[in-house]
Structures are given as C-alpha cells and as structure tokens.
C-alpha cells in the first residue's frame, strides 16, 4: 500500500503550491487577481510541458489551442443562451466543445507537422497559428475579426450575480483545477510506457524508432493531451474570466513564448518545473512592472538568460539531479 502511494508523492509539492496560492488569494485582500495570474501561468506551463517538456519539440503555435478553447466556450455560451434553464451545464458543454475543437485541430496539425523535425516543426507551427487566425478573420468564421462579446448572454444564462462570481472567482478556481489535472496526467504519463517512449524519442528519435517505438504515435498522444489542456485553459481563463474573444488577442504568439520560458525556467519534462517556472515568471513580471514600469522586459531578459545559463536543465531539473539519492528526492520529479 505504501509503495503504491509513493508513486504519487511528487504531486505533493505541486498540489501544495496550488493550495497555498488558493488560500493566499482567498484570505488576503487584493491578492486574488495576482494569484489568478500566477495560477494561469502555472497551468499554461503545466499544459505545455506535456508536449514541449516531454517530447522536446517546440510548438510556436501553441496558443492556437488556447484560442480554439476560448472559441469553444464562447460558442457554447452564445449559441445556447436562449435555451431555457440551461444554467451551469452550459459551462460543461463549453468545455466539451473546447476539448473537441482542440482535439480536431491538434490531430490535423499533428498529422502534418509532427512529420517534421526540430526547427522545421517550429516554423510550421508558427504558420498554423497565424493561418488559423487569418482564416477566422478572413472567412468571417464565428463573426470574423469582430469577435464575440458575450457578457449579456452570461447574464442571461446565470443571472447577473452568478455571472460576476464566475468571472471573478470560479473561472480562476477552474484554472487551478485544470493545472492540477494536467499535473496528474503528466505524472501518469511519466510512470507509464508513454513517458518512457517520449523520453527515448526526445533524446534520440532514430534510435527510439529502431528500438521499436512508434514515435509518431507517442508524439501525437503528447500533442493532443497538451492541446486539450490548453483549450480547457483558454475556455476558463479567457472565455469565462473575460467574456469576449477577439482573434488577434487569442492567437497572440506572445503567450506561446511565455509558455516556453516558463517550461524552460522550471525544467522541461519535470513535474514541478512548470509550477516553479510559472511562479518565478509571474511574480517577476508583476513586480518588475511595478518597480520599473516600461523597463521590465529589459531587466527580465538578463534574469532569464542568467537562469538558463546557471541551470540549463531548469531549476527543478537541477534540484532533481542533486536530490536523486536523498529521501527528499522522492517528492521532486
């Protein structure tokens, strides 16, 4: 029994961090929005890590999955607002739509782009993100470049008070839950054949193939999983929290870059890494913007370079190496 539970010890620091964030936000006045932002970055890292960290492939179009997730929720709410008594189940439908759309998009993109390697994959995915954005704008899909604003529909479905509670509180709680679920799935993958196959293909794809690993299959598994969590995150953190969606905002490559930084700072392919990376990134971005507004990126860049140079495997990657033989090592993965 003890050994069976020991498998899940590495989740303790991850979930501990999320609980601490929740209680700080809940009990200290004025901290909720900061904690919500940190939770978003942690969740973003946690979701992206399943693909970037575990396969070593860099997807520059990752934000597209957050984008379609946002659209999924927006479509659910706007199209079903007139249904009498739909209430909170519209959120479930919206999340399901987000998952469905991200799955379809990731299969379509993955089937083509995952045949490419390294930089070629990265370039192809930039194209996907931009292409998808201009497709929506140009072909006037889902209102095109006008986007969707669904404040009114939220109020109509939930009533004014519940709608406001959703966007100021429950959406953020949902983000934390998504982050926790992504961490759980990461751990399950790491401990299963999927994780071993991904490690092998990340280190040496050709050798992995000769060893009997169907690399395309495992890459696509990681890609879809990561995309689904991104879509859920988009639905919660973008659609429910701010009830509007505009193509230029949800397909903004800036978020992909942030996600990459978070994963690399914390430690690609580690379980705790995205939490550490998300917290460091979120906190420094927030404080630097207060202390030296306008120059935050100028200070931030050298900090990132310093961390990457000092800890090439990320902070958690380095910690894990140091603690491998110690008992505390069981909690860090």
């Amino acid at each position: 029994m003890k050994t069976r539970l020991a498998k899940y010890y590495p989740l303790i620091p991850v979930y501990g961090a999320y609980l601490v964030m929740f209680f700080i936000g809940k009990n200290m006045s004025g901290m909720w929005q900061l904690m919500a932002m940190l939770a978003f970055y942690c969740a973003l890292g946690q979701a992206f890590n399943i693909f970037l960290g575990m396969t070593g492939y860099v997807d520059f179009g990752y934000v597209a999955f957050l984008g379609v997730g946002t659209y999924g929720m927006a479509l659910g709410i706007t199209r079903l607002a007139h249904v009498e008594g739909i209430g909170l189940s519209v959120i479930v439908i919206g999340l399901a739509l987000a998952v469905l759309m991200a799955t379809l998009l990731s299969i379509a993109v993955g089937a083509v782009a995952l045949r490419l390697r390294g930089a070629y994959f990265a370039i192809a995915t930039i194209g996907v993100n931009e292409g998808f954005r201009y497709l929506i704008e140009g072909a006037k899909i889902w209102n095109g470049s006008e986007g969707m604003i669904f404040n009114a529909q939220m109020n109509q479905i939930f009533g004014r008070e519940v709608a406001s509670a959703i966007s100021t509180f429950w959406a953020d709680v949902l983000v934390l839950i998504i982050a926790a679920a992504a961490a759980f799935v990461t751990l399950v993958y790491m401990r299963s054949k999927i994780g071993y196959a991904l490690t092998a293909l990340r280190e040496d794809e050709d050798a992995a193939k000769v060893m009997g690993i169907n690399v395309t299959k495992y890459k696509i598994i990681a890609f879809i999983t990561s995309a689904v969590f991104a879509a859920l995150l988009g639905a919660a953190a973008w659609a429910l929290k701010t009830p509007y969606v505009f193509p230029p905002e949800v397909f903004e490559i800036h978020y992909t870059v942030e996600a990459i930084i978070i994963v690399l700072l914390g430690g690609a392919g580690t379980l705790l890494g995205p939490v550490v990376g998300g917290l460091i990134y979120g906190v420094s971005k927030y404080w630097l913007a207060i202390i030296i507004p306008g120059f935050q990126l100028l200070i931030f860049a050298p900090i990132i370079i310093l961390i990457i140079v000092l800890f090439p495997e990320g902070i958690v990657g380095m910690l894990r190496k140091k603690l491998r033989s110690r008992p505390e090592g069981a909690f860090i993965l």
């Binding site: 490690t199 280190e203 193939k209 000769v210 009997g212 392919g269």
Partner: protein
C-alpha cells in the same frame, strides 16, 4: 532454420551504389561477422536490415516474412535488435531506464508492464556488470560503459537476431577479448543469432565468428567460414593492397619523374 535472408539487396544514394546486389543468409543462433574497409557498405546494409533505409531493389526476409518495406519500429517487436557504431544512449534517462525501454518495446514488450521491464533491466545490468552505474544518467557513462549499456538494452529487447555495429571499435585488446567472451556467452545463453560488423579488428573476428562475410565497395566479396575467409587472397588484397610488383612499378615511375625534373 533461416532467420534472415537478403535477396539481391541494392541501395543507391544518387550516383553512389552503397550496397550492390548483396545476398546473404543468417541461420538461427549463428554468429557472423561482416567485415570490410571504410565505405564498404556495411552500415548501409545494417540500416537496410533494421529499417532505417528501404532497399531500392531486392528483398529482406526475416523469420519467413518480407520486411523490406516495414518501418523500423515494427521490425523491433519481430525480434530484431541492434546497437550503433557510436553508442546512442537516451542521455537524460538512467542506465536502468534505458535498458527498461529496450524491454518495454522489444519482442516481449506488449506483455511486460513498466515494473516488469524495470525488473528485467536489472537482470541485464548484472549481465554486463553495470550495477554501480544503474541510477546514473546514461549520458555520463564512459564510451565503453555506453557500449555495454547499449548491448544490454538490445538484449533486453529479447531479439532473435542482434545486429552489432562496430561493437569493438576503440577498445584495447584486453577489452576486446572480454567482449568476445561475453558475446559468445550471450549467444549460447540467450539463443540468439548475432551479426557483428567489424572494420579492422581481425583479432575479434577470428575469435568470434563462425562465418565471415567480407564486403568491398558495396558488394559481397567473400562469404565463407572464418579461417578460409581471412586467408582468401582477395580479402588480403582489400585490406593490404595488391601484390608488391605494382608498387615497385610506381616507385620506378616516380624515380624517372624525379630524374627528369632535376
């Protein structure tokens, strides 16, 4: 029983014919060495058998099945394992995990759980004597340790046929003798056929193989029992050059050239 059969296998890279109409057979449980100088097409032949390249002409038949066009990841579960010329460990994973990956996706992979694979890895770690490095990242091993780890990883795949690419390059004579002894042992213990590719180390070939195939410029030159093959004049020529008369002629020609110059 014929385990592997190559029928007129040809592979071209643009104008270069790397492997030219090579046919060969490997019986179950046999130990064969493929030798030949640099550029003879040995590695290309290995890559064709393991599926990295598909042949332009000819067929590869493994265990009675035509695998000429089968992707590499489908060949490994049939019982085809290989090691690489330059070891290719999964660097960030530990030695134990590396070997377990072999077990997980090898010929018995479908039946093994992750835990069983890790337990099986321990057996092969003992076999190659890497216990002290078990939990080390494989990227940090010495070259010889990496080779041993790669062999253990390939053996954990439970292959019927093991292709060893330059297993002994860069080793000193003592290590070579140990490796030869080790290969002979695993051949009988694990009941697998081994095709070992050797470039120059005849010491290993003589001690190891029952049969030798010599390749030269992409084609099969000699395929015979070891002692016959190594004393074959054509093999000597490939390795040491032609008879001395030609070189004397060249020397004379150079002398005349020098005379006219002065």
């Amino acid at each position: 029983m014929t385990l592997l059969k190559l029928e007129n296998v040809t592979k071209r890279f643009g104008g270069l014919t790397a492997v030219n109409a090579v046919s060969m057979e490997v019986q179950a449980g046999e130990l064969i060495a493929i030798v030949g100088p640099n550029g003879a097409g040995k590695t290309t032949l290995f890559n064709i058998v393991s599926g990295v390249f598909f042949p332009d002409e000819g067929r590869v038949i493994f265990d009675g099945r035509d695998i000429s066009r089968l992707p590499p990841y489908k060949r490994a579960p049939l019982g085809l394992g290989r090691t690489f010329q330059i070891p290719r460990p999964f660097g960030s994973a530990t030695v134990r995990e590396n070997i377990a990956i072999g077990a997980m996706f090898g010929s018995q992979g479908k039946k093994l759980s992750v835990r069983q694979s890790l337990e099986m890895a321990d057996l092969y770690i003992d076999m190659v004597g890497l216990q002290p490095h078990k939990e080390k990242a494989a990227g940090g091993l010495t070259p010889i340790e990496k080779k041993l780890m790669e062999i253990a990883r390939a053996l954990a795949m439970k292959p019927k046929l093991l292709l060893m690419d330059e297993a002994m390059a860069g080793m000193n004579p003592k290590d070579i003798d140990e490796m030869v002894g080790f290969l002979m042992r695993i051949k009988t213990e694990e009941k697998i056929a081994i095709v070992a590719m050797v470039e120059h180390i005849m010491r290993a070939v003589a001690g190891l193989a029952e049969r030798v195939m010599v390749m030269h410029q992409g084609a099969k030159l000699v395929d015979a029992p070891t002692t016959d093959a190594l004393s074959d004049p054509r093999v000597v020529e490939v390795y040491l050059g032609g008879p001395p008369r030609r070189s004397r002629k060249q020397r004379e020609r150079r002398d005349t050239l020098e005379e006219t110059e002065s």
